[in-house]
């Protein structure tokens, strides 16, 4: 197990390095320039900016400088803000996005599993149709529309919650729901189909034939086995949720890190693009690693290949 984990960590670092290098090269090769603006910019002003941020140096030197500062965990300055660095962005934004994402994930997992199980046990009856209609709505209605509807009714019309900003717990309710809908629907559908598959397996029949009660069969045999596919996607879902959603954060005025990904690209803010990509990749790689390790723990039939050797 330890050998496996070490190997995976080494592989993760290598993956990160490849991502950094690729992003660095791609970023410098897309059209556009961080300092371009509609209007006159005298040559001297442009050159001063370039040299201030070391962008006038050869690409290889810039790459070296970046890796060097990265080793000291310094993601560099933002080219668009002289007040907050990329580290500040992450330090102040990540806890907020994490908080929001966690709440959304709790809602999504809880209700997603419940809906999925209910639907599968009542196949082709009304609870099934209801859950799946909800799930289809959840998947097909974009979350910015859902967010706008939530704000319009719960905040403007009925004044139950504040419209936007991030100040108290009541400010977090609407964005959490808006963010949870998609993953919830996804989990519900996945859980339903996986449950149906498991329920048709021979060992379920065996369990029933043994004379186990329906509840025991479902709880101890069906759900456990049906959950594996859900665990598989969980790593990616969690990584997406906790690193922030640009749309939801922008609509609700939440100072998370979701905007880093989108605005960094729009502004060609090189350090922000790199910082957010590296950070996201690191989290994703970490979560996938955990999920992989968890497989063996949940289902002992799955063996780690490295372990046998």
């Amino acid at each position: 197990m330890l050998k496996f984990a070490l190997k995976r960590v080494g592989l993760a670092l290598l993956t990160l390095w490849v991502i950094i290098t690729l992003t660095f090269l791609l970023m410098h090769n897309i059209p556009g320039n961080p300092f371009a603006q509609e209007g006159t910019m005298p040559k001297a002003v442009y050159e001063n900016l370039q040299s201030y941020y070391n962008l006038d140096k050869p690409l290889l030197v810039q790459y070296g400088l970046y890796l060097q500062s990265l080793l000291q965990l310094d993601f560099g300055p933002s080219l668009k803000s002289s007040s907050i660095s990329v580290n500040d962005y992450i330090k102040s934004g990540f806890p907020v996005s994490l908080h929001l994402g966690t709440q959304a994930m709790l809602i999504a997992i809880t209700f997603g599993l419940i809906f999925g199980v209910i639907a599968s046990l009542n196949r082709n009856k009304w609870p099934d149709y209801l859950s799946m209609v909800l799930a289809i709505i959840g998947i097909s209605v974009p979350n910015f529309i859902l967010a706008t509807i939530l704000i319009n009714y719960f905040a403007v019309e009925w004044q139950l919650f504040p419209v936007a900003t991030w100040k108290s717990w009541s400010h977090t309710v609407l964005p959490s729901i808006a963010l949870a809908m998609m993953p919830m629907a996804y989990i519900a559908r996945l859980m339903r189909s996986s449950m149906l598959e498991v329920l048709s397996q021979d060992y379920i029949l065996t369990a029933k034939a043994k004379g186990l009660s329906r509840n025991k069969v479902i709880l101890k045999h069906a759900i456990r086995n049906a959950m594996l596919p859900v665990v598989t996607v969980l790593g990616i879902l969690i990584a997406n949720l906790v690193t922030g959603s640009f749309i939801i954060e922008s609509i609700f005025g939440i100072p998370g890190m979701g905007e880093m990904f989108v605005k960094g690209i729009f502004n060609r803010d090189y350090p922000v693009i790199l910082g957010s990509t590296i950070f996201y990749s690191a989290i994703l790689i970490f979560l996938i690693l955990i999920v992989d390790l968890a497989y063996t723990w949940i289902d002992p039939r799955i063996k780690i290949s490295g372990e046998r050797k």
Binding site: M41, S83, T102, T148, K167, T172, K220, I251
Partner: protein, 550 residues
């Protein structure tokens, strides 16, 4: 095997709980709900007077020397004050300077500062602070984007280019209250510039003690009507009345609270729910509705900006003025403004927007319409123009705009008008803003959408754009006569001669139509009836220095 169910459940939930336990609860602002902007909050007459606004983006820099753009300047204009300032009517009046005089050649300006002016930390504001601030912005090491706003100073451009010394820059503090400014050439609108934020002073003492003073509210020092007392990055800002301001009895507001929300719809919904007192900018469809309903809270502020299309004058047949003119005459600007843009914009039949004073009256009014929309004439011109270029019909071409719902709607309207009126087919193409700028600079486009916001209140800020090889002449147009008139306007101090030269130049421009003006922007915003005294200078956001809450 039985343990496995429990294991899987534990695993699912533990990831979430562990994450939330580690980071979620402890590190966020959940625990500080002390100050709320809840719908119920109302300003009592006895309580402090608080104005609540939205700044649609985190300011990039709140340092006058490196600030650029409205998200920075809206805060700076209320926290700082330059040598001069403007009345709500747009008249330039003394600010930090009590009076000033000009030498006969217009090159030397001497400003005498007030003696009761202080920084928000209580230190006196001196002429040396101005000298220091201007040289700071011009210093190549500061990498200031707006340094060129100070190129009017003698030696300013050379210093910024690294070709001259700091000592050669034409600004000197003769004593604590006398600032002598030497200009590179006579600049009739220099006084207007001294109210612009790049010309604000900074405290030399503060800057030298803590070069990062402007990054956090705790160390922020300014000299204007308000001071910055709280700045939660990307979240909110708080301004409070500056008790050291020399005219503090004229300031009625106690505090101004900004939230930072970049979604226009959300800001509008917060306004509807009573969480904001003033919203700018508004969503496009909301503007249209408010305008149509004659909403009393809706204000159509003036703006110093023009929306236009560039013709690439190096692409056949758009090198032919007749073709360009025909296209310009064949769109219905009134319809675009009323039904597409919907913000009460003004159809443009010239390029310099209204609101700039002429020798007498308004410059744009004196200009009048320099061309008219006329379909028959347009068809005739198109035919003639194409014949001159040896073509019998306009080949399919592309109009490029930067991705935005608003630009898309206008481009589609123009596409339809040209198809209907001239039988001309074209393709629309949206690209990222940065890509559009790149392609314009490279001449890799046929027609492109553009907009220009004036830097200062003088027609020159627009006329200057289309001189031969000018840095923003993306149309690649060139006309020696035009260049000559611009040169005349730039070098003479005689107001009448200047204005005449610019009027003449604008006529040539609209006669040749290297660009196609569509409309002059407005600044539509809404403000609650209990807020009074907000005014909109032509080249900045709504100002609330003298605002009051009743």
């Amino acid at each position: 095997m039985k343990k496995n169910l429990a294991r899987s459940l534990i695993f699912l939930l533990s990831i979430v709980f562990v994450l939330s336990g580690c980071f979620g609860g402890g590190t966020n602002n959940e625990s500080t709900p002390e100050e709320s902007a809840d719908p119920g909050e109302k300003t009592e007459e006895t309580g402090p007077k608080i104005l609540r606004l939205n700044n649609s983006s985190e300011p990039g820099s709140l340092h006058p020397g490196t600030a650029q753009g409205t998200h920075d300047s809206w805060i700076l204009e209320h926290a700082f004050e330059g040598l001069t300032k403007k009345t709500p009517e747009g008249e330039i009046i003394p600010g930090m300077a009590r009076e000033w005089e000009t030498s006969e050649d217009g090159l030397t300006w001497t400003f005498h500062l007030r003696d009761d002016i202080k920084w928000s930390n209580g230190d006196p504001v001196t002429a040396a602070d101005f000298e220091y601030a201007w040289k700071y912005a011009l210093n190549p090491e500061s990498a200031s984007t707006y340094a060129y706003q100070l190129y009017y100073l003698e030696g300013g451009q050379e210093f910024n280019e690294g070709k001259a010394d700091e000592d050669q820059v034409g600004v000197t503090a003769e004593d604590d209250q006398t600032l002598v400014v030497k200009l590179a050439q006579p600049t009739p609108y220099f006084l207007d510039l001294t109210s612009f934020y790049t010309y604000y002073p900074i405290s030399q003492k503060v800057q030298e003690e803590n070069p990062k003073w402007y990054q956090e509210a705790e160390s922020y020092v300014s000299n204007g009507a308000f001071k910055l007392t709280e700045w939660k990055h990307k979240e909110s800002m708080k301004l409070e009345k500056n008790e050291h301001y020399y005219e503090q009895d004229k300031i009625k507001l106690d505090e101004v609270h900004f939230v930072i929300i970049d979604d226009e719809n959300t800001a509008w919904q917060m306004y509807q729910a009573g969480e904001l007192d003033l919203v700018y900018p508004l969503p496009q469809d909301v503007q249209g509705q408010l305008l149509a309903n004659n909403d009393p809270e809706f204000v159509k502020g003036p703006d110093l900006a023009v929306y236009y299309f560039n013709f690439n004058n190096e692409v056949k047949p758009f090198n032919n003025p007749k073709v360009r003119k025909a296209l310009s005459m064949a769109i219905d600007r009134q319809t675009i403004v009323e039904h597409v843009a919907q913000g009460g914009q003004i159809p443009a039949y010239s390029v310099v927007p209204p609101g700039i004073p002429d020798v007498s009256g308004d410059y744009q009014e004196n200009t009048g319409n320099l061309f008219e929309e006329n379909l028959d004439e347009a068809k005739k011109l198109l035919e003639e123009g194409l014949a001159e270029e040896g073509m019998d019909q306009l080949p399919n071409f592309t109009l490029t705009y930067n991705t935005s719902e608003g630009h898309k709607a206008i481009a589609e309207a123009v596409q339809e008008m040209w198809r209907k009126n001239l039988g001309v087919e074209m393709t629309l193409e949206n690209v990222e803003f940065q890509v559009k700028l790149d392609r314009e600079k490279a001449g890799d486009y046929t027609i492109s959408r553009a907009g220009w916001v004036g830097d200062y209140v003088d027609p020159m800020t627009f006329i200057d754009l289309w001189v031969t090889d000018g840095p923003y002449n993306d149309a690649n147009w060139s006309n020696p006569e035009y260049d000559k008139l611009v040169e005349v306007a730039k070098t003479t101090m005689d107001q009448e001669e200047r204005m005449n030269a610019m009027h003449e130049a604008e006529k040539i421009l609209m006669d040749e139509m290297p660009i196609l003006p569509v409309y002059f922007y407005t600044k539509p915003f809404t403000v609650k009836p209990h807020v009074t005294g907000v005014y909109t200078p032509i080249n900045s956001y709504p100002q609330f220095i003298y605002a009051d809450i009743e």
